[in-house]
């Protein structure tokens, strides 16, 4: 009896799982699930945004000096890279809606490359921090402030926030790779492209987090410098 129902399911559509009645129900459920997941991510980063806001309120000058020590060019470039990747991602979703397999692959590869570029730049920036002694710890030193403690807090937050953001990017790159393989195998059609769609939601969300991190970490009162 279970076999029979499974066979029935497989006949209707390859991708639909047995707990759903229709493909539409499945797509709605998956999309809703991803959005709910994204609000958990809002709260996850929210905890760090709270810590950031509190310490920025406590130590505004230190945060301004520390922020101004960051390389705004790298930050802005990375923001641009990530926005471009969001554009290519949405183009991949669009291609999936239209069932254009080759276009999906092209745009996914572009997104993947841009994502990797972001991570590369990020890694480069971190190595700079090590050279500049801006990594919290015994050898930490930031010029221009007397309060090294709060300055360390700024960089602790910097590493925690960008680190967890980068971790999300790494996960995103993994998802894109999987999508790429699945697309190559022809798993997606104009009727069934939910994974591409919800992967897009995730990618854009990670982009949005960066949209906030950029001004908050790199751009505090740079005119003071």
């Amino acid at each position: 009896m279970k076999l029979a129902s499974q066979a029935h399911v497989h006949a209707e559509t390859l991708a639909r799982r047995e707990q759903f009645d229709t493909a539409e129900q499945q797509r709605d459920a998956s999309t809703l699930g991803m959005w709910v997941f994204l609000i958990t991510e809002i709260m996850f980063f929210g905890g760090m945004f709270l810590a950031y806001s509190v310490y920025r309120t406590f130590y505004p000058q230190v945060f301004a000096v520390a922020s101004s020590s960051m390389n705004a060019v790298i930050g802005a470039t990375n923001t641009g890279v990530l926005l471009c990747s969001s554009f290519t991602m949405v183009m991949a979703v669009r291609a999936a809606q239209l069932g254009q397999r080759k276009a999906i692959i092209t745009f996914l590869i572009l997104t993947l490359l841009l994502g990797l570029a972001f991570l590369g730049l990020k890694g480069y920036e971190w190595t700079l921090k090590f050279e500049e002694h801006h990594v919290p710890g015994p050898s930490f030193h930031l010029d221009g402030v007397d309060m090294q403690g709060p300055a360390q807090i700024f960089f602790s937050l910097y590493f925690a926030m960008t680190g967890l953001h980068a971790l999300h990017m790494v996960v995103g790159v993994g998802i894109l790779t999987w999508l790429l393989i699945a697309t190559y195998k022809g798993k997606f059609t104009a009727e069934y492209m939910t994974p591409v769609d919800i992967a897009g939601l995730y990618w854009h969300f990670v982009d949005i987090i960066w949209i906030f991190l950029f001004p908050l970490l790199y751009l505090i009162d740079r005119h003071l410098k």
């Binding site: 279970k2 047995e18 459920a29 809703l32 709260m43 710890g137 403690g149 602790s156």
Partner: protein, 541 residues
């Protein structure tokens, strides 16, 4: 699937065999049983820690174990019971099993994620277990900084990691339930026809999804502070340990509602079935669940009244805390009113429900004490608080969990439990519980601080009473363990609907088939319409 010879009906338990058919199952019912086994293990582990604590406290001078060990015992008791038993207890077992069935679905929206949730709990549990075996952790389950980040020499990292992983189990369960309730209801199952258990599971899921990530990130920051020596809460750098407390309690206060809301849902079901009446004020009970979930997020600062939080914030949080009291009171009154002119059966689940209402009332009312600033300054961090939250979590959540297990046991296993033994155990648990925890209210008001290994002599009598109660309680919990296992083999075979209940889960065979229902049910009645089941033959096992 490979059922053979015998004319036994195929159901989810015998549809396939072998370890793999369980460890790789996507059936929400089997996953529920996996959870049941896992959390039962953790319950007895946490219970063992509690037993050692209570024995230790028999004498004021602390002869049995060292201070270091004692501190690890209460920490591991808290960690085990909260993160690996209470949080997953009702949602992951009874919720997992019955949420899809009660709304007429074949499974949860994401069965593979459901299985993943279980694996995450197991991995998190193993990490915590590893920490315990490797030497234990002594920070208290609250992980207050800077003790946890700088001063403790115990296995904080592994434990925090374990809780972090288990947190994702909780998040994914909540996510799965939310989507399932929104997208998987059977035809005709409108929101206001849903059983109240579903409402409370939905409200619980909201908390899991919105609160748990904040705990997760807080633990990540503690982790980073210990491992990479960065400083986010470190007072030596100008960090604020009270910020940690805000972040921690933003989750950990609502987490109390993750434990108690599902319990309230179970009680609504039981009270209705065993007085054979719809729950009085259905809409009020339903919305009070959502109200508790929402308002529960606005009150965390009442854990910080003496923490050097600002006086004004303290007042705001105290004020808001009283808004949780109202929906809680509404529930208690409505349950009691449901009994009025009912047809009240004394089956075991109902005895647990009576016990729940009584103990939750005491727990809730003493919550008013600790929400009141003037009193809280005196009683916070004393045994008064210990007694208060055990009345909620043990007297409330675990009583309901036990009640729910008895209520749904016939459906889950196809066997009836032995009624006489079960009633006795309910009574023993109720009495043992009160004897254990009521003296602790007095201890607390006298000023006995919590987490004290050694204590002044004058508190000993009350501690001895409490320990005596704990031994009764332990017997009470062992009894069901034994007769439930016994019933699997020797219990009477359960009919489809032994209690004359109206929920969809009772409209299918016991135990249910793999697909839950022979065909998708169509709902035409509101919940708890007992006139619809009176035609059915009701056999009480």
């Amino acid at each position: 699937m490979i059922t053979t010879a015998v004319a036994e009906r195929e159901h989810y338990l015998n549809a396939s065999y072998g370890i793999k058919s369980w460890l790789l199952t996507k059936d929400h019912k089997r996953i529920a049983l996996l959870y049941l086994a896992t959390i039962t293990l953790f319950f007895f582990l946490g219970g063992a820690f509690a037993t050692l604590i209570r024995i230790e406290l028999l004498t004021p001078q602390g002869g049995l174990v060292s201070s270091e060990t004692y501190n690890k015992l209460f920490t591991m008791h808290g960690v085990t019971m909260i993160f690996f038993f209470l949080i997953p207890s009702i949602p992951a077992t009874l919720g997992n099993f019955f949420l899809p069935m009660m709304i007429g679905a074949r499974d949860l929206a994401f069965p593979r994620i459901n299985l993943l949730s279980w694996y995450l709990l197991v991995v998190g549990g193993l990490l915590a277990l590893f920490a315990m075996l490797a030497g234990g952790v002594d920070t208290g389950w609250t992980f207050y900084t800077p003790y946890s980040t700088t001063y403790s020499n115990s296995w904080v990292i592994a434990t925090a990691l374990g809780i972090f992983v288990a947190g994702f189990s909780s998040i994914l369960t909540g996510l799965n339930f939310i989507v399932t309730v929104h997208r998987m209801r059977a035809p005709g199952m409108t929101w206001f026809r849903m059983p109240l258990f579903i409402w409370s599971m939905y409200a619980t899921s909201l908390i899991q999804v919105l609160g748990t990530p904040v705990l997760a990130v807080t633990l990540v920051l503690v982790f980073c502070e210990r491992v990479f020596h960065i400083g986010i809460f470190d007072p030596a750098l100008g960090g604020d340990p009270v910020l940690f407390q805000h972040l921690f309690w933003f989750y950990s206060h609502p987490a109390v509602y993750i434990m108690i809301l599902p319990a309230m849902g179970v009680i609504s079901e039981i009270i209705s079935v065993f007085s054979r009446k719809p729950v009085f004020g259905y809409a009020f009970v339903a919305f009070s669940s959502v109200a508790i979930a929402v308002v529960g997020f606005l009150v965390w600062g009442h854990h910080l009244f003496v923490s050097t939080q600002s006086v004004y914030a303290g007042m705001v949080f105290s004020f808001l805390s009283y808004f949780v009291a109202i929906p809680s009171a509404i529930k208690v009154f409505n349950w009691t009113a449901t009994l009025y002119k009912g047809s009240i059966s004394y089956a075991t689940p109902m005895l647990y429900a009576f016990g729940f209402i009584g103990l939750f009332t005491i727990g809730g009312l003493t919550g008013l004490f600790v929400a009141s600033l003037g009193i809280d300054v005196h009683v916070t961090d004393t045994y008064f608080v210990i007694a208060h939250f055990h009345y909620i979590m043990v007297g409330g959540a675990i009583m309901a969990y036990m009640g729910g297990l008895h209520y749904w046991w016939p459906k889950m296993t196809g066997r009836m439990y032995p009624e006489g033994w079960a009633r006795l155990s309910a009574l023993v648990i109720f009495l043992g519980f009160n004897l254990t925890f009521f003296p602790q209210f007095i201890l607390g008001y006298l000023g006995m601080p919590r987490r004290y290994h050694v204590y002044p002599d004058e508190f000993q009598v009350l501690h001895v009473l409490s320990t005596a109660g704990a031994s009764v309680l332990a017997v009470g919990y062992l009894m069901p363990m034994i007769y439930f296992i016994w019933s699997l083999r020797y219990g009477a075979v359960a009919p489809a609907n032994p209690w004359g209940a109206t929920g969809l889960e009772w409209k299918t065979a016991s135990p249910p088939p793999v697909e839950n229902f022979e065909e998708t049910p169509v709902v035409t009645h509101e919940a708890y319409d007992y006139s619809t089941v009176m035609g059915e033959v009701i056999e009480v096992g």
